[in-house]
Symmetry: C2
Subunit: 415 residues, 2 copies
């Protein structure tokens, strides 16, 4: 089953808006078992809409159109599609009432132009929009389907979630199943190499595997039929057991949320002492709602002076070894443990770039330290990216380093 | 002059990668004076590439193709395009040498498959890629142009920057001019309302105006001919003078970089004491290269205890007024000024959400404080978003609050 996605609106063409709708839709439909043939962004223009819809309906079984459903005069998608499908716009009174109630609830006047949004095609299936006033429209023509939705991301997503059961029925997607796990700190090709035996078995069972990499993290997704759910779970369990220090969670769980769950489970508190990351690890921890249950606070000791004053790094060590060194990063973590009064403290010191690199310590050299009441751990990383990615890599590797310490994986390697 | 953009690769179709390349290209070409007709994402597949290129060349004057130029067998763009333009692949020896030198420099083996990247179409113009091993290719067919580039964003951008002068020549774009200014803390519609007189004049002079909003910031872009450069500069100057406390910089200068320039200029150092932002302001300051010239460090006092211990907030005030209060945020800023030994210190305390709101202090209530040696300032904000946007809004309003204090705009209003 082939899907095409069409987005309408100049804001995407001129790069004012990044087309995240198509990415979300593509991901969602791919998970449902559709294959995505083409994504097209066009202008709010009758000819462009007609010819693109015509072309997509020729090749795809199902076409999604987003955007162009607002009440302003620029937004012509509804009338063009209604004409294209030889339908006619009629007033849906209960939708007019709902839109009026919506305007009343947010204290805005209900204007004639808003009432236009209750004028909808007679033969199409109208899909309720819980988050706004532009309804979704599901047109059919022979064996082909076109679903038109507003371009506001959360309105579009609400409509899709609502119709997923109907899509499954209509396109017989019922027996489709997938599951994802996430691993940190192991590259895609190294991973593929170490599970080639599992890949072979998956192939024989007609379960497909996908690797989805991002900075420091690889997701593995297995896709099969609903009958294969247990089999898929078994295979993922095998992979998890093969990489226990790398596996941190299923599906879309963030690394910081996974760490938060672990800290809550162990009743531990955490703090950070950051230099090159400048608060980025703290910020990531705090991005998880409810983080006050385990996060106490941080010190960003960016300057030499503050490393001495706030976390008691030894003056001579700092000047003899430099801020980017094992001894300094370990003292930072230990100082933070004490100053912040936490159970575990992570510290960072590195050269994010673009300047500041030397022959011994090139840009991308980063030391990460972790102190607990019993021990101090440290690790040197050599990243090779720009400033932004070096900082992001430090955050991701650092967060999982904390998990590894708590789970005991760092104790096995060293004495 | 019409431009089409085609991106090749399954990772965009299935939503694994968000298509930021097309947004960047669309923005850049729009600024150069092209109009963007269509953006299409397709699979790495001969038929799809041929039919999409055929269709785009029919309607557009210039077509950009990104992606599908890697050395692996999936990447077929080069051979398909070479065949389409009736060209042939030949070895470019100096490019082979450069690729080999590149591999040697990063300590990787130079394999036969890498040498393939020096096999390039004979008649096309080959565009040097400074950041990677896949060259750009500029094909011409009658009056139409197609430029193929790798999909890696920084490689694609490098190639575009290199060919901009040639695009201007080839498409006579020389007399096109635009300039952007950025304002913080004033909404798009309020802004439009307050410069409606200027808008009218611009219309009579055939200079177009665009408003580009993001969280807490609106960019204003004026577009005209090169002959109108001075006129455009005059109009923007008028707008700047009308909103002196909101204007922070031209073009793409970030707010944190603008603040950094100001701090360097005044020879001032800065620190932050953060609660609800959890280090996000520090992280934003540090994201600017060279920030160690003015940034010393931060304290994230997330818990009540650390507010007392690290920045000496008065125990009774904290428990009587709560952490989200004027007195606490002012004490945090003053405590940070002393502890961090800086010239100016910003503090935050608020309820980011989703939980923790009360009737008096709903989710989105944020106090921001600023201490200098002479004074302490504070301001209450009421944001109405989700956790992520409330934090981001605090960062943006907070950074400009610091600028306003340094520039004296906050002294006029109060005693």
């Amino acid at each position: 089953m082939q899907v095409d996605i069409i987005t309408i609106g100049d804001e995407i063409l001129i790069g004012q808006t990044i087309d995240t709708n198509s990415a979300w839709l593509g991901h969602k439909m791919n998970e449902l078992g559709f294959s995505i043939r083409q994504i097209t962004s066009i202008s709010d223009n009758k000819n462009a809409i007609e010819s693109t819809v015509e072309n997509s309906l020729k090749h795809a079984d199902l076409v999604f159109v987003t955007g162009g459903l607002g009440p302003t005069k620029d937004d012509i998608t509804k009338s063009v599609l209604t004409e294209y499908f030889q339908d006619e716009l009629v007033l849906y009174p209960h939708i007019a009432d709902e839109i009026e109630a919506y305007f009343t609830s947010v204290g805005k006047p209900f204007l004639e132009v808003n009432k236009q949004q209750a004028m909808l095609p007679k033969k199409a299936i109208i899909i309720r929009n819980d988050a706004g006033t532009a309804s979704g429209m599901w047109f059919k023509k022979e064996e082909k389907h076109l679903i038109s939705m507003p371009g506001v991301p959360y309105e579009m997503k609400g409509i899709i979630e609502r119709i997923i059961p109907h899509l499954k029925d209509e396109f017989n997607l019922g027996d489709f199943y997938h599951k994802t796990i996430q691993l940190q700190g192991i590259g895609e090709s190294s991973l593929a190499d170490q599970i080639s035996d599992i890949e072979k078995q998956l192939e024989s069972e007609h379960i497909s595997i996908a690797y989805l990499p991002s900075i420091g993290i690889v997701k593995i997704r297995l896709t099969g039929t609903a009958q294969q759910a247990d089999l898929i779970a078994d295979h993922l369990e095998t992979i998890k057991q093969r990489f226990p220090a790398n596996y941190f969670g299923a599906d879309d769980l963030s690394l910081q949320a996974a760490l938060g769950e672990l800290l809550k489970d162990r009743k531990m508190t955490i703090g950070t002492v950051e230099s090159c990351t400048g608060g980025a690890i703290a910020q990531r921890i705090v991005s998880t709602a409810g983080s006050s249950a385990y996060y106490e606070g941080s010190i960003v000791s960016y300057s030499y002076d503050l490393k001495e004053q706030l976390v008691a790094v030894n003056h001579d060590d700092l000047w003899n070894h430099g801020a980017v060194s094992q001894t300094v990063v370990e003292q930072m973590a230990q100082g933070g443990l004490k100053q912040l009064g936490v159970d575990i403290c992570i510290s960072t010191s590195g050269i994010a770039g673009p300047d500041g690199g030397t022959e011994d310590k090139p840009v991308g050299t980063v030391w990460v330290g972790i102190a607990t009441k019993d021990r101090v751990y440290s690790k040197k990383f050599q990243f090779k990216h720009n400033r932004e990615r070096n900082i992001e890599s430090t955050v991701v590797y650092g967060l999982n380093f904390v998990r590894r310490v708590i789970l005991g994986f760092e104790d096995e390697k060293t004495n």
